[in-house]
Symmetry: C2
Subunit: 93 residues, 2 copies
């Protein structure tokens, strides 16, 4: 069965985020006040063939540790749902 997994990869607390600081600056320079902090991470969608949601989550957690995040500076969370989506690119098997 095809599952869709969402992985949110975020910087650990205390790790500097220059990209987030740049966006903070851009927000202020446009005149918006009241946005004291911005942090930028990655949002990764994976489509996974697995027998059940638990197996899919196990696989994605393993990929999260091995490929999708840097364990020194980042943490991640995984959410698995049944895929109602079709794959979004043609030519992908």
């Amino acid at each position: 069965m095809l599952y869709k997994a969402e992985v949110k990869v975020t910087l650990k607390k205390g790790v500097l985020d220059p990209q987030g600081s740049a966006v903070e600056g851009a927000v202020k320079s446009l005149g918006y006040t009241g946005v004291p902090q911005v942090r930028i991470g990655k949002y990764i969608e994976l489509w996974v063939e697995a027998e059940n949601a638990e197996q899919a989550a196990d696989l994605v957690n393993e990929l999260g540790r091995k490929i999708l995040s840097n364990p020194i500076t980042e943490t991640f969370t995984v959410t698995v749902t049944e895929s109602a989506d079709r794959l979004v690119q043609t030519g992908v098997k």
Copy 2:
């Protein structure tokens, strides 16, 4: 009141995602089968001072259109929650 907004920025369908393709290749080269597609987007956390959640969501939607996404190639979704978190960097007012 301080709200936390989460913005997920994803590539529109049909827009090529070389970074996602690279991760697909890495997943396959590690011997994992059953991951037919990977798409990579941005996950942005913003802390917003606003009178209510609706006002916070309006502001973040505006920022999403103006700064956080490229409307030609990307779409985004906004989720606003009451911020239980403390700000994650010291020295941020």
